[in-house]
């Protein structure tokens, strides 16, 4: 039993335990208490009962502490904390890739993360679709830098939707947003469905963003 309470990294562990007058180790009695072991000895032995009584007392104070903590936590307004965190986050420059916009001759660029955010939002205008990873790669094949961009988009799709049609609609939305909102020329939109979401949830999502 001592092996439960004497980890190899604490040489003096046995000094921490206590042999109760009934011959049981305190650690075992408490362990049985925690696991709610049905042991006749535990019910009949006065020493074990007394040892467990100490823990019961502690538990009742712990519940008081929990209530205090819950009350404090419930009253806590996370808004200022969130704002502070996001202020730092938005100031921190993530190394990102610039992508070309407009005509090849134009010197106009957009950061990948910013473009990806707009394209995800476009994909999510298709009911039930949730967008995940959205990577934008230089289009035009190997080493090609023809000013076009290839989109690789992961989505969660509604479970009952015909996927080819759904993908076509997502592609269309992404294409249109890239063209209309960003002025970005897209060479291809590769879509990967990474999860199928039950329809009821998809309906809720649709209602939430309509």
């Amino acid at each position: 039993m001592t092996d439960r309470t004497d980890p190899p990294n604490t040489p003096s562990a046995q000094g921490d335990d206590e042999l109760l007058p009934c011959g049981r180790l305190l650690s075992r009695t408490w362990d049985d208490w925690e696991q709610q072991t049905d042991d006749p000895h535990l019910r009949s032995c006065p020493h074990c009962r007394q040892a467990v009584h100490g823990l019961d007392d502690l538990e009742s104070v712990v519940r008081g502490l929990q209530q205090e903590t819950d009350t404090t936590a419930a009253a806590y307004d996370t808004e200022p904390l969130t704002r502070r965190i996001m202020d730092v986050v938005r100031l921190e420059l993530r190394p990102g890739r610039p992508l070309p916009l407009g005509e090849p001759a134009e010197d106009l660029w957009i950061m990948e993360a910013v473009a990806a955010r707009a394209l995800r939002a476009a994909a999510e205008t298709v009911p039930g679709v949730r967008a995940g990873s959205c990577r934008l790669l230089d289009g035009g094949g190997d080493g090609g830098d023809d000013g076009t961009v290839e989109v690789r988009l992961d989505i969660h799709a509604p479970a009952d939707a015909p996927l080819p049609e759904l993908a076509a609609r997502v592609r269309e939305q992404v294409w249109e947003a890239a063209d209309r909102e960003l002025g970005m020329v897209i060479a291809a939109v590769d879509i990967r469905v990474t999860d199928l979401v039950p329809t009821s949830m998809a309906d809720d999502q649709e209602g939430g963003s309509a």
């Binding site: 980890p7 502690l58 996001m86 910013v114 909102e181």
Partner: protein
Amino acid sequence: MAGPRTQSAPPDSRADTDDALLAVRAAEGDEDAFAVLVQRHAPALIRLATSLLGTGTEAEDAVQDAFLSAWRRLPEFQGRSAFGTWIYRIVTNRCLNVLRSRRPVASLEAAGDVAAAEHTTSPARITEGRDAVRELREALDLLSAEQRACWVLRELDGRSYEFIADAVGISQEAVRARVFRARRSLTQALGAWR
């Protein structure tokens, strides 16, 4: 240049998006997705940090530091565990470091001496009310950082030994030993002061 465009996303489209998708987006630099994760997890983490540290100000700092650390490490996170578990672990470790820096090793020994007293001091005691809670708080301050962390995660947060071992980065046996020692110290402290 395209800044205002990002506003075109429906404002509530992320509220029902699951953590895994939001974490992927945040890893790719989507700050708005990260903001949703912060809002979603901050209340529980503040509660956790307050339990671990005992003070609100330090708890806020620990949670803030943990989220900033998460933001920087997200690109390498790659969803190996749930985001909630990951950030829970980061907060726990932040708090552990705060506790370690707070407490000299000497007080650890002192707490051990207290523990040498007879544990079964209690006749029937009334252990309710604010006084008992205050005494418990004081007794918690006498625990070692590891004992306190393991005990808080177990007793106040109701976590399994397996979960705690993973969060703190020690073996389950070591967690059990620390919870046991914490319980001994705490039962003795509460008994001795009555």
